[in-house]
Symmetry: C2
Subunit: 119 residues, 2 copies
């Protein structure tokens, strides 16, 4: 069964940082707009990161030392690329592990283990 609408926003709360960090783990460097498009594409538009949520999050990650930035000019247009620091790579692992563990706990709590592969 395919569910083709966005998730209610409450669910996505708390996972944004993890999503962003994990994308950066797999893609070396990315810019903000690219991240929103990539997530939208990978999730069939079920998760759409708003820019109002993304940019403050990216700035917080930079402030925390998990990412560093690099500005690149495409003609006159600016792109700000984000890249994981060594510390950021540790943070990704911690966060992804925690989320994975949390989801296992939730699967148990909600008794969802009967059908794990219904994507």
């Amino acid at each position: 069964m395919y569910i083709c609408f966005m998730y209610s926003s409450e669910l996505i709360k708390g996972t944004l940082k993890t999503i962003v960090l994990n994308l950066l783990k797999d893609n070396d460097k990315m810019y903000g707009y690219e991240i929103t498009q990539k997530v939208k594409e990978m999730t069939s538009e079920k998760i759409q990161i708003t820019e109002g949520a993304l940019y403050p999050t990216l700035h917080a990650l930079e402030k925390h030392g998990d990412v560093i930035t690099e500005k690149v000019y495409i003609g006159k247009r600016v792109r700000k690329y984000y890249r994981l620091t060594d510390q950021g790579k540790k943070t990704v692992q911690e966060r992804v592990n925690e989320l994975a563990d949390f989801m296992n706990t939730m699967r148990f709590l909600l008794d969802l283990d009967t059908s794990p592969g219904n994507v």
Copy 2:
């Protein structure tokens, strides 16, 4: 590998209503304090619902018509039992389905399908 600390609070955000509703689906009637203890026990203390979060949530569910209440006196002490309404039963299904679908999407997004059973 066992992880024996509480999840960072951000992760739990947005799942509280679903947890509560699902417990009521399986237990016919429960009171607030009982819910906090049951979740703590079932998750080996990894998820601890605070009362400051729980009671407002229960009141919201009642206001929405998903649960009805019943006061029971144990001696002079009051217990307020919560029970799903018919509408509440529908709400549970919707929310649990959505969360299950969301978790599948997250598993794909974070590439976690390699080890699904490491509880």
